[in-house]
């Protein structure tokens, strides 16, 4: 037994309120085991991790109850072990343990390294704090070894790089190297791959697993992604509202879930949604016919050799030295009534493409035709009639609504511009109906965006797109900021609306399992180009291009 958490309670103070972030949880982690804490946002999983390593500021948190016993190995390696209670540990002792015996990796590799130090300096600092007797040359050697261990190419050279020169995946590797430098007994990984692309995520997960096996350390792995859980965990605990609702071996929890919440979560995974839908379709052949009939052959949106270049400017006179080719010659036809999924990793230009179609970003070359009319060069004013028919829903529910405006203002202003509804009262009534359609209360009209949860905000974004009764909607990563269960609801709502209003959708996402659930056709984008396009089922089953094959094989899947 390496770590034993007993009835841990962590309460956070937010103003006058006390939030029971962690409310009496118990679990144990054995030596050499990967323990996954899985849950939706706000379930208290990160707070649990921070409590174990005692990183929450004392003035906002309290532990009314509980014990965290950590059996700490001696860094000298003479085999003596002592059991420490992390909650009552003295500050100096805590500093000795943290970093050396318990290390942590955070979610966001972009901000967890200090940008003004080289990566080597940051690793060496950790080493020398915990082993003060180590000299510089020795520390540097160990830092290089640590970088080599996490498979950074040319570690002797890269050790002197600053963090901004490294990619997201490499930074996360550096973080792991830093955490592993002192060979800790326990590594806490708080969503270490959530900010990374699937192919990079697959590599990082493989690396972590390999290191864990080689060093025999334990990992407390925190994630929201059941695919990742299936890949990594030995044992799993499912958290909800500060409590562990179910825990057990990977096999047990994923395949014979006992608790309703676990069942719900698993059922909400896009993979499972798809299976359910397929079953429904088999039961009911008319639905298949209906789905097929809707697709009209005439293209609603047609792109020809579309290019969007962003100039790179340098020097005193800001001369353009080069271009970032965000979209590099894309031909794309979206027939009326189709749901086309555009898949790609971050930076492949998929969002830029979506915005270029709506003329939110000017294209450098090529043509965009909407409903057989060319709109590439239209002026701002001339675009207005088209705006009514083409809408967009954004990824980030926090920034996609104007924080200074009530929902009603956000919804009725576009209607007034496009002459929908005769009077303000009539428009408010339409807005009320549309809110009801996206399953929100009419009373919500009078609130400000910050009063809503992420899922609700995403529904409002959907409502805003719908008020103008558009024909075509670009959905830009609409569910990637949401929890699985909320994601399932939003996706289902989107599918219903699509059928009801005969919408044509361009569904931009990085999540293959969502694609499989929602789309009829998919296009894979890489480096500004579309590398493969075809019916979703065909591509997923039998990808032709190497890039697509790599992408698909990297997706962590939960096979049930």
């Amino acid at each position: 037994m390496l770590l034993q958490v007993d009835n841990l309670k962590t309460y956070l103070r937010a103003g006058k309120n006390i939030v029971k972030a962690v409310d009496g949880i118990s679990f144990t982690i054995d030596k050499g085991e990967i323990f996954c804490l899985v849950g939706e946002s706000g379930s208290g999983k990160s707070i649990t991790a921070l409590s174990v390593i005692q990183l929450i500021p004392k003035d906002i948190c309290s532990h009314p109850d509980g014990r965290i016993a950590f059996r700490c190995g001696d860094p000298g390696g003479n085999g003596e072990r002592e059991t420490l209670d992390m909650l009552t540990l003295a500050e100096d002792k805590k500093r000795e343990v943290c970093g050396a015996r318990i290390a942590m990796i955070f979610q966001e590799p972009m901000t967890s390294l200090n940008p003004v130090f080289t990566v080597g300096d940051q690793i060496i600092e950790v080493l020398q704090i915990h082993w003060p007797e180590m000299d510089d040359a020795e520390a540097r050697k160990r830092a290089i070894a640590a970088l080599a261990q996490v498979q950074i190419p040319d570690p002797e050279v890269r050790i002197d790089e600053y963090p901004h020169r490294l990619s997201g995946g490499q930074r996360q590797r550096v973080m792991i190297a830093m955490a592993m430098a002192c060979e800790p007994d326990l590594l806490i990984a708080d969503e270490p791959t959530t900010a990374l692309d699937v192919t990079v995520q697959a590599e990082i997960l493989r690396l972590m697993k390999e290191l864990q096996e080689r060093k025999g350390m334990s990992i407390l792995f925190i994630t929201h992604d059941f695919g990742v859980v299936a890949k990594m965990a030995d044992r799993v605990a499912v958290m909800r509202k500060g409590k562990i609702v179910e825990s057990g071996s990977l096999e047990q929890v994923l395949h014979q879930p006992q608790h309703d919440y676990t069942k719900q979560l698993l059922a909400a995974l896009p993979e499972n949604l798809k299976r359910q839908r397929d079953l429904q379709l088999i039961d009911n052949p008319t639905l298949i016919a209906a789905a097929e009939k809707k697709i009209d052959e005439s293209a609603l949106v047609e792109l020809k050799q579309l290019e969007v270049y962003f100039p790179i400017k340098k020097g005193l006179f800001r001369r353009t030295v080069d271009h970032v080719k965000a979209v590099d010659g894309v031909d794309l036809k979206i027939p009326k009534g189709q749901l086309l999924a555009l898949v790609g990793e971050s930076g492949c230009g998929k969002s830029t493409l979506g915005r270029a179609i709506l003329r939110l970003i000017d294209s450098t070359a090529g043509t965009i035709a909407f409903n057989q009319q060319e709109i590439t060069q239209l002026q701002r004013k001339a675009m207005i009639p088209f705006r009514r028919d083409m809408q967009i829903i954004f990824q980030d529910p926090m920034s996609s609504l104007n924080p200074r405006m009530t929902i009603v203002t956000t919804l009725i202003e576009p209607m007034a511009v496009h002459g929908i509804g005769e009077s303000k009262e009539e428009r408010i009534e339409i807005a009320r109906q549309i809110l009801a359609r996206v399953q929100l209360d009419g009373d919500h009209l009078w609130r400000y965006p910050h009063e809503f949860s992420g899922g609700q905000r995403q529904r409002i974004g959907l409502a805003r797109a719908l008020v103008l009764n558009p024909k075509f909607i670009v959905c830009d990563e609409v569910t990637s900021a949401l929890d699985v269960s909320v994601q399932a609801e939003v996706l289902q709502l989107l599918m219903e609306l699509r059928a009801e209003k005969e919408l044509t959708l361009l569904f931009i996402t990085h999540d293959i399992s969502v694609v499989e659930y929602v789309s009829d056709e998919m296009a894979v984008m890489h480096d500004g180009k579309i590398v493969e396009r075809g019916p979703t089922a065909d591509i997923c089953r039998n990808p032709q291009r190497e890039y697509t094959q790599n992408l698909l094989s990297a997706v962590p899947r939960l096979i049930l």
């Binding site: 972030a21 706000g42 104007n402 511009v417 496009h418």
Partner: protein, 410 residues
């Protein structure tokens, strides 16, 4: 992260109770809501109170401190020398002030209020210009002499019976006097070097302080918001040209320009306002530009564009309220620094020739061989309080305009 999520969900719960209120609130205009929010804080209330007091005092200055009696009866003929000596400016100020007070309680749309205000202001100005002609020559001593001689049946004096330019020649060579030093006359705040009453001068000087602060900052903000907004939204060539223009204006030293103008042309308050205004807009423009550059990338702005909203709405309804917070804070400092600029000029002896101003009074505190504490304390205190009040208001306006901050504060 989990932290903020929790806090947020609780905020949602607590706001559900106040649902009816927020429905009512939605029927009010945005500006009204913000003001209501801002002035629930005691700091802002103090600031507002001080500025309102100052504004009232400034408007009613002739009624409060005047050597001309408010009313007098001479041989059973009742007259009001005070009213006869009111200038066109006094009348316009009075009319505007009364309109503002009425409009605050009137429930009409904001832009209509502005229109009504402008209309009353200009109509009164025209009427006053045609009808009002105060006597060019004023002899302040006559009232005191006649009263002493017993010519009047009765006299009603202003609370402070001295005009700012009444040097009290009839009392002989008075000069600097500490507060309440003289037996015969009551000068609450003492007298300045020419012998006129300091309190009276301070009351009349508040007009200049308020006027220069508001007008100069208003000019600067107007130019700054328009220029900065266009630069931030369009970027590219517009931004390039705008930035160079800003750099040119920033290179002009305001104080030296003011000194030059004052030396070559007349010492006019309006010239000072305009000069301070057009040399200080780049600061606001920078703020607005930076905010707009940030906001332009925000998804709600893109969504507004995608909905086909007109440019005017995107710029001023969607972007400006989200980017106004730093400008308001800057503006409160701007008002303060405009007041200070005028005080500096007057302190250097290059302010208005004869009209009272706080800075000019401060100047007198150090000019003679002794330290005249009342000449430093009262005008200095007034400048301090005014600058402080603007800062307090700016800060709570900033809090009120940010709905996230406002909820957690409450």
């Amino acid at each position: 992260m989990t932290n903020s999520h929790k806090a947020e969900s609780m905020v949602t719960e607590s706001t559900q109770a106040g649902e009816r209120q927020s429905e009512k609130a939605a029927n009010r205009s945005y500006a009204a809501q913000v003001l209501r929010e801002a002035f629930t804080q005691w700091g802002a209330r103090f600031g507002l109170f001080w500025i309102a007091l100052l504004a009232t005092v400034a408007v009613f200055a002739p009624f409060l401190a005047n050597s001309h009696p408010l009313l007098l009866s001479e041989g059973s003929v009742i007259s009001s020398p005070m009213l006869q000596h009111l200038t066109m400016g006094d009348f316009v100020m009075l009319a505007v002030f009364i309109t503002v007070v009425v409009l605050i309680f009137l429930n009409i749309r904001f832009y209509k209020k502005v229109l009504v205000l402008f209309a009353t202001g200009s109509v009164t100005a025209i009427i006053a210009f045609m009808l009002v002609s105060p006597p060019q020559l004023t002899v302040y001593d006559q009232y005191r002499m006649k009263q002493a001689a017993g010519v009047y049946d009765w006299v009603v004096h202003a609370p402070i019976p001295y005009s700012p330019k009444d040097y009290i020649r009839d009392e002989g060579d008075t000069g600097l006097e500490a507060p309440l030093a003289s037996e015969e006359r009551t000068h609450w705040f003492g007298t300045e070097e020419n012998g006129s009453d300091v309190l009276s001068r301070m009351i009349h000087a508040s007009r200049i302080a308020l006027g220069i602060g508001f007008v100069a900052t208003g000019i600067a903000m107007l130019i700054g918001i328009i220029m900065g907004g266009l630069m931030g939204f369009f970027s590219g060539a517009v931004d390039m040209i705008g930035m160079r223009l800003m750099e040119i204006f920033e290179a002009v030293p305001t104080l030296f320009l003011l000194l030059t103008f004052v030396a070559f042309f007349e010492r006019s308050l309006y010239v000072m306002m305009v000069i301070i205004g057009i040399t200080s807009w780049p600061g606001y423009a920078r703020f607005v530009r930076a905010e707009f550059l940030r906001l332009r990338q925000q998804e709600f702005v893109q969504a507004a564009t995608a909905c086909g909203l007109p440019l005017r709405s995107i710029l001023f309804r969607h972007m400006l309220p989200n980017g106004i917070a730093p400008i308001l804070v800057a503006a409160s400092f701007g008002v303060a620094s405009a007041i200070l600029a005028e005080a500096t000029l007057s302190f250097l002896g290059l302010g208005l020739v004869d009209d009272p101003s706080w800075g000019q009074m401060l100047n007198q505190a150090v000019q003679s061989s002794t330290f005249n504490w009342w000449m430093a304390l009262f005008p200095g205190g007034a400048i301090f309080l005014t600058v402080f009040a603007y800062n307090l208001m700016g800060e709570s306006l900033r809090d009120a305009i940010d709905p996230n901050l406002k909820k957690s504060a409450g």
